[in-house]
Symmetry: C2
Subunit: 541 residues, 2 copies
């Protein structure tokens, strides 16, 4: 039986997920769906994969590549090529549901080691064959597409080992193609944790975390990936760079920082040395607090970050609509507890904050108490640990909701930005206003990565599509959304990266002189433009 | 009366400092100095400044520059030029004491604003005139010399304002030429602190901190300058770059990080937006702990950094020789307290640790107690707050000792490195062994900037010179020292920077491909090589 497009676009382990009753009710309620509509299968994508575009590599090139990595590590079949044509952005999923793969790679190659990667880059550089490094392909910003064809260089099969755990230095060195769970299990067995848990954790690789400059759900305490990486080994068309490994230094600017967020445009990240932390889940304290409005919750969060009380690890606020929908779908709405909260004045407009504090026992206890104290001063009411623990249970599974929602013809996407504190509430309002201009649109916003100087805003929106016009209406809506963020002081991304989806706004963000500097770095390391070409990061080609 | 070389090389406010009795006794004891030798004035440098080399800028060029910045901001007199020919490295001081200024700038210019700087760079780029940005000129790595002559562009007269303190964002935006005390006083008045206190604090500028990638004495808690800067404005020969200001982001690699540690080679840093912190000195807790040996002290320090108890702000260990000399010169040796410590086993080989914890009251209390607990487990004995407070009193004044020591013919220099934990003790031993090969040499080492993954090692060495051969013997000794660090896993610098003094080792540290990448960035932003030329950072020209 031939593989289908559905097997490609489905999230994670590709299981079929039933939407829970709470969510089905929400859809009925917000989008006026009938029961018949709730059983539709819109653009189900269950046709067998068949590519129009044949691979363009000639026999000589393929033979050369097979000589380098072995026959068994070179794939040119339609399904493998189609599987490496897209990431997991909304437009990627739409294309695959439509059975449209206009620009697959000509071949997918699984290199076994650094030497092979070097040889492949040399060969491809000589013959101007495009190379797109790939890992979990969970990008939601069109970071792993192959508009120029060429090779998708997949590191997950062979370059997926933990090379060293150095307990004295509190570091681990891993190959870039290792997935989150394999890395974390290896560390847990030794009493350590990587501290980096993006929602894609189960299906993304360390190399991808670095390439896209990601952040984990505990980033407020552990930092983003750029704060965790100490050293990198990168194969570029110009040569191999191994950045020196120091806790900090002052020997010129930090070269490894140039590759964090490089999204495959400069070379192939092959090894990463990063900080690890002691794994002591029993020490972690949790708290949840409800606030009367978003402004008070944000005030308490900002005050917590600027008070010198230490730094929590998970630190989140759901805005009123996200809080309302979460309470509705989780069955909290209308319970006695809910009525009690309502009587206390926590009803319309209320916002839920989730907190965890890790580390030493005395530290996490003192920290959680300090935050609760600050929250009380800002009108917060403690709800105990349960809401956080419940959220943690579903921390990775909510990504599975998008596929069944799209089956129902519901546009479902997320976009995120980083913003300084003084602009957070204004930007939140402006973006919500824009998104709400579309009728029948659910807009849920949360803050999930927090700093002394500002935080991120994470927007999730759901809205029934106009069938047949899905792609165009999304592109226009997405453009309006990014325009709104870009022109109102938000960054293009806090942790998703730029890819091709956000590339058109890069020059406005960095200025021409800034983007030219990035291009100069690109041109030096990749003079023939073979690395992840096609406008990634706003770079040429 | 004509100004002397001594006025140029003297540290800080140029006051004459008498060496305290404790130090004089040390010199007698360690170096066998007679009373006559203790009253010598070796290479006193009190001759009037007179340059052999005339300024090379022609009348037209000078007129153009005067038109840009005004007559009163262009200097071509010998004293001003000589004052901008050197920083404060040991060889700089020697040269000035010898009355040797082989490569002064042709003119010193004090620009009034960004537009003038842009015009100067444009003019100099067209005429290939070298520009060396200067601030406090406290570099100890030969970072502000002018081997190609040209212009020393001094930002301290006019570009020294605090432009904004944003309390909501907890940030300040300053012009790069502001000195530490002016910045800190401005912040203190509003209840904030900059958190960055290098030993040069009183006589260095924010722009210099950024250019040299410095660290303050509380960096363990507040981070190095690269962890504090959120955004920069830089004038380069290719254009002005203003990096976007976000708490964090994922829109390509962080461009501002390329300029932190650029040491004037890429452009002129004109504005800096950096984090600030609440100023609450009453909340700060102090502790000092004595250990039986360096290994136990380092073990306690490492454990503290890796235990998730929070992060202290000042965190230092003096190695046995530094502890011994500090106890000797401060009059502690031989006291009853000293005898008591001796009876407890803290004598030969003992090491002093100093700690401060800032921030919220509950936090600093919990943190200092946690560290003390860890120290006890590693055999540490608490000495209370007094030794830290005493050290804080002298935190900036010990820099004044070098001049009177050099007056006595004593070579006095420092060098520092960063190293991962597992290599700290071996590197400390190897470097000490090398330095001790020189007879009659006092070698004091401390750790003063600490991370989860490693720390710095700061070496101070004192040794009587062989008169008449000061320069050659220093250069050979310094080379041997850096070779030892470089070949044994230490960085060239943790916070002093590279300048021209450490440039020859850059290729070994970064590899050719790494250094070529730096050169490519340089070539793009400064294609004619006018910015701080002469091998700074190992770059050409």
């Amino acid at each position: 039986m031939k593989h289908t497009y559905r097997e490609i676009f489905k999230w994670g382990d590709r299981r079929e997920t039933e939407l829970e009753k709470g969510i089905l009710n929400l859809i009925k309620d917000k989008f006026d769906y009938s029961d018949a509509e709730l059983s539709q299968k819109h653009l189900y994508g269950d046709k067998p994969v068949s590519l129009d575009k044949q691979g363009l590599l000639n026999t000589g090139a393929l033979e050369k590549l097979r000589n380098i990595v072995g026959n068994e590590n070179v794939y040119t079949d339609d399904f493998t090529r189609a599987s490496h044509s897209f990431g997991k952005s909304y437009t990627d999923l739409l294309q695959l549901r439509l059975g449209s793969v206009p620009a697959p790679p000509d071949a997918v190659i699984y290199p076994r080691n650094l030497i092979e990667i070097t040889e492949i880059l040399e060969f491809c550089n000589n013959h101007k064959i495009a190379i797109t490094p790939s890992g979990g392909k969970s990008t939601v910003t069109r970071g792993v597409e192959t508009p120029e064809g060429g090779i998708s260089l997949n590191l997950t099969w062979h370059l997926n080992k933990v090379l060293e755990v150095n307990e004295e230095n509190s570091t681990a060195t891993v190959q870039a193609g290792i997935f989150g769970p394999a890395f974390e299990e290896h560390l847990n067995a030794k009493g350590y944790s990587c501290g980096h848990f993006p929602q894609s954790f189960e299906h993304s690789t360390v190399g991808g975390w670095v390439a896209a400059k990601g952040a984990g759900q505990a980033s407020t305490g552990f930092g983003k990936i750029e704060n965790m990486v100490l050293s990198l080994k990168i194969v570029t068309p110009t040569g191999v760079i191994t950045t020196p490994c120091y806790p900090a230094s002052a020997q010129g600017w930090d070269l490894h920082q140039i590759f964090i967020g490089s999204e495959g445009t400069l070379g192939v990240i092959v090894e990463v040395t990063m900080k690890i932390r002691k794994y002591r889940p029993d020490n972690t304290r949790y708290a949840s607090v409800i606030f009367k409005d978003f402004e008070s919750a944000v005030g308490a969060m900002r005050c917590s970050m600027q008070s010198g009380i230490g730094t929590p690890h998970i630190f989140r606020i759901s805005d009123p609509e996200e809080t309302e929908i979460s309470f509705k779908t989780k069955g909290f709405e209308g319970t006695i507890a809910d009525k009690f909260l309502g009587a206390l004045g926590y009803n319309q407009g209320r916002c839920l904050m989730l907190i965890s504090a890790e580390g030493d026992k005395a530290y996490s206890k003192q920290l959680i108490n300090s935050i609760k104290r600050i929250c009380r001063k800002h009108g917060g009411f403690s709800l105990g640990a349960k809401p956080v623990l419940k959220w943690l249970e579903h921390r990775y599974s909510s990504a599975y909701l998008r596929d069944p929602l799209m089956d129902l013809g519901i546009m479902s996407d997320t976009l995120e930005t980083a913003v300084m504190w003084d602009n957070l509430i204004p930007l939140w309002k402006k973006v919500r206003n824009f998104l709400k201009e579309r009728p029948k649109t659910v807009v849920m916003v949360h803050i999930s990565h927090v700093y002394e100087n500002g935080a991120n805003l994470y927007f999730t929106f759901l809205s029934p599509v106009n069938k047949g016009n899905e792609m165009n209406e999304y592109i226009a809506y997405h453009k309006g959304l990014v325009d709104t963020i870009n022109s109102n002081g938000g960054s293009l991304s806090h942790h998703h990266g730029v890819g091709r989806a956000l590339a058109p706004w890069m020059e406005e963000q960095l200025g021409k002189t800034g983007l030219d500097l990035m291009q100069a770095v690109k041109n030096h390391l990749d003079p023939r433009g073979i690395m992840n070409p096609g406008g990634t990061l706003g770079l040429k080609p």
